[in-house]
Symmetry: C2
Subunit: 206 residues, 2 copies
């Protein structure tokens, strides 16, 4: 394995270990020594990649949107709905994503992250806004719909919906809650002719 | 002042002191001694009313929906929109409400609260669901709309919207974000004839 490749893998192992600890106990109670122990890496390796617990938290938050594959269904609006459903499913299994969302939601962490605090939401808003802008250009959205405002709304609502779903069912009912969100929201943003062609259900397990 | 009245006042002073500390530093970092010092009450008084920090947090969470006055505009759907806007405004000034929402959002606290963890959301969902059920009975909602599902959606979305607004503007843009949420959602739930009569703007400052 080339040296650079090994470094990337080491960084990823450290991020995953940090994510599993942040996901379980939150930022405050997470300890570097526990992260180190789960990663089975040396302290030197950890501090080479991440100068502090804060840097690890930032890395976990940034990883949320890394390597994101967008759906391609032929409709950008359907792509957006599918994207939210695929993130909902990943929240069940992907500890890196789940920890990133937990850190993003907790005020304590957002305060710590300081100037960069808005960035995790901003990245998601940019992705959703891009899909909505294309959707509008393709004639799928009603004339008065502002893609940027809807993108902010979708990201904020998703954040709250996954939070409530977590409290009630450890996110097991998240797909159904998201589906309801889209069923009630779509008539206010999509042109009537597009509505019958959209599905709000989660994609079949694959 | 009668003894019972004094006890109620003491309890309220303690709740407010606890709320101001939870609001600033969150549950974990809040100390009983700091709460005591802000309340200017004795340790005996505090432990008479609240057996533990957990009991204080529960008291703050429960206080969110206490003494809630519902708007009466003549339209139950308009009442619901106004309720969310009035809560948005109170989040700027009412430390008890703000601390309750912070505690409700943070996983650490929700885990601590154990069996009662779902209750803060449940109470809000019940209030919104009641308004929507009446709204439907009054013919304001589309036939397929399920008041309970919309109530869950509104509470969850509100939770996320206030969170994102807090990150971006310390909640200064919350009224505008809520207004956008309702503008895009209402066409999916209200009958067309009702829409022109609804306003999504925050009530004028009073």
């Amino acid at each position: 394995m080339a040296q650079q490749e090994r470094a990337i893998r080491t960084r990823q192992v450290l991020l995953l270990a940090a994510a599993s600890v942040f996901d379980e106990v939150g930022y405050d109670a997470a300890s570097i020594s526990e992260i180190l122990s789960r990663s089975k890496m040396t302290k030197g390796a950890l501090y080479f990649h991440f100068a502090s617990k804060e840097a690890l938290a930032l890395g976990v938050i940034d990883a949320q949107t890394a390597d994101l594959e967008l759906p391609e269904t032929g409709s950008k609006l359907q792509d957006l709905v599918c994207l939210t459903q695929s993130i909902a499913r990943r929240l069940q299994t992907d500890v890196l994503l789940r920890a990133g969302v937990r850190l993003t939601v907790e005020e304590r962490t957002l305060n710590l992250l300081g100037a960069s605090q808005a960035s995790p939401y901003a990245k998601w808003i940019e992705i959703c806004g891009g899909l909505l802008t294309e959707s509008k250009a393709n004639g799928e959205l009603l004339g008065h719909v502002q893609p940027a405002a809807v993108a902010e709304l979708v990201v904020a609502s998703f954040t709250g919906i996954q939070l409530v779903s977590q409290v009630y069912s450890r996110r097991e009912d998240l797909a159904e809650r998201l589906s309801a969100f889209w069923r009630y929201l779509l008539p206010g943003i999509a042109v009537p002719g597009v509505l019958p062609h959209l599905t709000t259900d989660p994609p079949a397990a694959g």
